[in-house]
């Protein structure tokens, strides 16, 4: 019985953390975020070098063959730095291909994903979050039609994994005929999302094995990664608020000696710290405890969404006025948490799903 990170996992996190401190300092994040789309090939390359997109790819295809927990630990560090790199898209697309791709699809795409040379985007929103604006994709005879909203990591994608209305998965190259990609701009300028419209767009099915299960595993893994991203961003906001409170003086003393400020920081820490264990468990469950995988993923994502919102707001409050300016760049973390909340299932939906999974109510 050991509920702790391994030495390797800690090292992996620390090494990504150090790298991002070097290649993605605030002014670099700001420069990327000020572009129309968040393109940062240098940061993406540095992150790929450390194996981030390779984390779930089997070793046979050039990956690390690690688990969702490891992927979540990396997501946490990416969130901590508001790193403007594709991650959830390639990781989940890779998972889709690993679980349900044909051998030739695996050979064609997984090594590229693992090396970071190929980026795959992901259109899973309607399946995981529900459909807005009647979006949805229909597949028939190798052609896709319809529209997918909020496709993740779209800007630099070479291809997309697309979930259709019927629960099928498809691989579509970014330059396929009839595919129109419209960039959507969110509050979070460090990650790219897009609307994809398909008009008789040729696609390859990703249909080996139990595809329904693959979809669920992708959704659940995605939820854990988003929750971990929020954990990292929120922890960073607390760290920065605490550090600021120890330095900043008002009315003749550091603000961190005021009980009101101390208690705000204590409340944030008390709320966030147990989330870490929840993410660890949910990440571990994805590979080791299949019966608990969906439930813990839903709870992790929902709970981190709520605690993340609380921390984002409260830590900004600790800073006072300077916290809402661009100067300290806190808002990149704030917005990252804000976007994560709505992706792959908003908390209200997730809690309802969690109840259905346990048979408390009918679907």
């Amino acid at each position: 019985m050991e509920f702790a990170l391994t030495h390797d996992q800690i090292q992996m996190q620390e090494s990504l953390d150090r790298t991002l401190e070097r290649v993605a300092p605030l002014d670099r994040i700001r420069a990327v975020a000020d572009q129309p789309t968040p393109l940062a090939p240098d940061i993406a390359a540095a992150v790929a070098e450390l194996g981030a997109p390779a984390v779930l790819v089997p070793e046979a295809y050039g990956g690390l063959g690690l688990g969702v927990l490891d992927a979540a630990l990396l997501a946490e560090v990416l969130g901590r730095h508001a790193a403007p790199v594709p991650y959830i898209g390639p990781v989940l697309a890779g998972l889709a291909l690993s679980l349900s791709g044909s051998e030739s699809q695996k050979l064609a795409w997984l090594p590229g994903i693992a090396s970071g040379k190929t980026v795959l985007g992901l259109a899973l929103s309607e399946f995981a979050s529900g459909a807005r604006m009647d979006a949805g994709v229909s597949a028939s005879q190798g052609m896709l039609n319809g529209k997918a909203l909020f496709a993740l990591d779209a800007a630099t994608a070479d291809a997309f994994i697309v979930a259709d209305r019927a629960g099928g998965l498809h691989l579509v190259t970014a330059n396929a005929t009839g595919l129109t990609q419209t960039a959507l701009t969110s509050i979070d300028r460090t990650r790219s999302i897009a609307e994809l419209t398909f008009k008789d767009t040729p696609s390859e099915p990703v249909d080996q094995g139990d595809v329904a299960n693959t979809l669920i595993r992708m959704r659940d893994a995605g939820r854990v990664l988003l929750a971990a991203d929020t954990l990292g961003a929120a922890q960073r906001m607390i760290d920065r608020a605490v550090a600021y409170a120890k330095e900043r003086q008002q009315f003749g003393r550091v603000i961190g000696s005021y009980q009101a400020v101390k208690h705000m920081c204590a409340e944030m820490a008390a709320e966030l710290e147990p989330c870490r264990a929840l993410i660890w468990y949910a990440g571990y469950a994805q590979d080791a405890l299949p019966d608990e995988a969906s439930l813990t993923a839903a709870h992790a994502k929902a709970h981190l969404s709520e605690i993340g919102r609380f921390v984002a707001r409260t830590s900004t409050e600790v800073f006072g006025g300077i916290g809402i300016t661009d100067l300290l760049g806190l808002h990149y973390l704030f917005k990252r948490i804000g976007l994560n909340r709505q992706l792959l299932g908003a908390p209200e939906r997730l809690r309802r799903e969690a109840a259905v999974m346990q048979g408390f109510i009918d679907a």
Partner: protein, 400 residues
Amino acid sequence: MDLAYDAQYAAFREEVRAFAEAHRHLAPKRTGHRPTSEQIVWQKLLIAHGYAARTIPAAYGGFGAAPDILKSRIIAEVFAEYSLPGGLANQGISMLVPTLLELGTEEQKQAFIAPTLQGEMVWCQGYSEPGAGSDLASLKTRADDDGENFIINGQKIWTSTAHAADMIFCLVRTEPDAPKHQGISYLTFSMKSPGIEVRPLKTMTGGAEFNEVFFTDVKVPKTQIVGARGQGWFVANATLKHERGMLGDPNAALSRLKAIIDLMKTEQLDGHRVMDNPLYLDRLMQLQARVMSMQFNGMRILTSALKGEAPGMAGLIVKLQGCELNHQLAALAIDVMGELGVLYHGSPHERDGGVWQHRYMFDLGLIIGGGTAQIQKNIISERGLDMPREPKLAPVSARA
């Protein structure tokens, strides 16, 4: 308790409505920090009818009516009913003009009030400094006396409109050796003075609602002081008094609530109206109860004001509760939109021009800035509940 208006006020309401019907075609669009010529025409029209600058003496360019809070409220209500912009509400009008009326010299009143009211002279406020925060009185911007002028050096922050302003009213330290509240003076001077640099201060909304203003050897004639030298802290507090009323307006919350109701009727998830989701609906109803409470609390404050009584606790809590309520309303709007709710910066499918995200972030700034929630709680406990102030600290050397 009687929520009807008596005949005099009913007649006044009809008069304002008649004006609104007759002139609505002249209503200007809201724009940036400097009034457009349409706005200036509109402002002059309002002043002429007594719907702006109503109680400012005619000698200084106002309408010159006796104060009547109920009439002011009726004006505001009718303008809201017709979705017409009211009189200009910038810091020159809301803060400088009342200060000059109370403490300015006759010359200052003549020079500044009328053009300010008419929107032709735009002001910014130079109070906050980067090192001072809530502890405003610890400001460091220096004004050295060279006999005829003050020579100003230092930096201000949170100066909205600075880039568009003609003039600034500004707190500076003229007596560096006096106790911190007693060495400050209140100056007015041109933003075109040599030595002033304005740098926009970008915020999390992506806009630059504020600026930093840097002063390097800015010369200001000593006559441009308002009130006595060293008394600027008290002059400014007379002004701050006016500012507090500007925030936490329950009408803003009410119109946001209405907008969210519309949103929840139209937005759909999986083909179902968001309004039919019991969780969002419950939050909506919780917030509606709060909006109503603040609206009725506002009526209570208005009644106190009409009677010339202090509103007491009902008044002290307005800013804390009002800002928080607006922030919560924005949060609900974002949540009911889901992923659509995070779209921004003019994205395709963005709803209402991204206004909900803008408010969610900007309101957080209001909760934090302009007397933070923390300070509001100090005020409520000390002034409202008569609890003791934070005791003084031992000298630094005695700290553990």
